[in-house]
């Protein structure tokens, strides 16, 4: 029914609700009127000025917006609010909200993916839990931090694009030697 009404709207260019009903075999006036009202609510059709209310036999004329009129199938989702056209209110803020949520979801997913990738690519020196616990106990007893384990560049394989410069390697090696 909606597709037939849409076709008639495109063919007739300027039309009234009874005019559309006449062109659809077995159409129901209320169904077509509701469809037109929903299209009007979502700014897909516009009223044509010049209609005088109360004149018997004359009806409000409408036309489709030219951008939408080229589409051979009737719209099911409003482009302004991203809701189905039967939605009672066309609020563009809903679309913005949805977009923002989508963006946030995308960001979170991206960050999680990056972290997972970084964790997978990172292969530092293996330190056992007993070593960590021993270092903690030393810290509590002496108040001094345990010296860092000597830096070994081979423990940090430069996977991907990241390569530790030679100069930095030397500096880090020197610092470890000093301690």
């Amino acid at each position: 029914m909606h597709q037939s009404a849409w076709r008639s709207m495109r063919i007739l260019k300027q039309w009234s609700v009874p005019g559309i009903v006449c062109t659809i075999p077995g159409a129901n006036f209320n169904t077509v009127a509701k469809f037109v009202a929903s299209l009007e609510r979502h700014a897909m059709v516009e009223k044509i000025a010049g209609h005088v209310r109360g004149r018997v036999g004359e009806h409000q004329l409408y036309r489709l917006y030219p951008k939408i009129a080229n589409d051979p199938t009737y719209p099911q989702v409003c482009g302004l609010c991203d809701q189905i056209i039967s939605a009672k209110v066309c609020d563009p803020a809903v679309k913005e909200r949805n977009k923002e949520e989508e963006r946030q979801r995308g960001k979170e997913t991206k960050t999680e993916a990056r972290m997972a990738a970084a964790a997978a690519s990172f292969a530092g020196p293996e330190i056992s839990m007993s070593e960590i616990e021993a270092a903690e106990q030393d810290f509590y007893q002496t108040g001094k931090r345990a010296p860092l384990p000597p830096f070994n560049a081979d423990d940090y394989p430069s996977t991907g694009w990241h390569v530790v410069p030679e100069q930095l390697k030397r500096r880090l090696g020197g610092a470890n030697d000093a301690t």
């Binding site: 008639s8 062109t23 659809i24």
Partner: protein, 246 residues
């Protein structure tokens, strides 16, 4: 008022011609032509037929080329305009002759523009030959005269339908099908004469008559009861000028 399309003589002939084109024997040309003066209900009839037969409707433009025409047909069939004409014809034929689907008629409005370039008519012929879907051209009152002068084009059109407007029996049929009160023959004659057999005006007049009859509790309304009230709102009144002339 009851909102429905009354099967007037014009309408019946039009629907019959589409049926004949859809059920034509092989080897017969599948092009039809519909023409008539403006305001006789051609577009409404076409919209009704498009919905009834799940047809495809395109409007020709003055700047149409064969590529533009095929592109519009592709778009109407849910595709996109392609670079090559042959690809577009193939797509159209494939869409129209999908297995398990009934043939869909193609309606081309303002078809006068199509007859300016013979290539367009040839492409349309290819489409209906390959897909078995008829093509119905719609034009203004002069289109038939123009086509008849061109033997090559006229030979391909097998259904000629002219919208002539409503006669008195058609007006009676429209009143019986759409109006909820009964009109006497004298009022019908008055309505037919005053509206100049224009279907849009007849409907407005019938609505007013119906409302008047219902307001006065009449099941049947006569010309005497209606009197000389105006039937629609844009009837010009040149009282001042008329008095001066007389």
């Amino acid at each position: 008022m009851i909102h429905k399309t009354a099967m007037t003589k014009d309408m019946r002939r039009f629907i019959q011609s589409i049926d004949d084109l859809l059920n034509r024997p092989s080897g017969t040309e599948g092009q039809g032509l519909l023409w008539g003066h403006p305001g006789l209900g051609k577009t409404t009839a076409v919209a009704y037929a498009v919905n009834q037969y799940d047809g495809i409707f395109v409007r020709a433009l003055g700047c149409w080329t064969v590529t533009a025409m095929l592109g519009d047909l592709c778009r109407e069939l849910g595709g996109k305009r392609l670079c090559r004409r042959s690809d577009m014809v193939e797509f159209i034929v494939a869409e129209l002759s999908k297995p398990g689907t009934a043939p869909r008629p193609i309606f081309i409005d303002e078809a006068d523009y199509c007859f300016r370039k013979f290539e367009m008519v040839d492409s349309l012929r290819d489409i209906y030959d390959l897909s078995k879907c008829p093509i119905i051209m719609i034009g203004m009152e002069d289109i038939a005269r123009q086509i008849k002068t061109n033997e090559r084009v006229a030979r391909r059109i097998t259904q000629w339908v002219e919208f002539k407007g409503l006669d008195l029996s058609d007006t009676d049929l429209v009143a019986a099908e759409c109006c909820e009160v009964k009109l006497s023959s004298d009022l019908l004659e008055y309505l037919h004469k005053e509206t100049g057999a224009n279907i849009g005006r007849i409907i407005i007049g019938l609505t007013r008559i119906e409302k008047f009859a219902k307001a006065n509790g009449l099941a049947t309304i006569t010309g005497a009861e209606w009197g000389s009230q105006p039937l629609y709102f844009d009837q010009p009144t040149f009282a001042g000028k008329g008095r001066r002339n007389s």
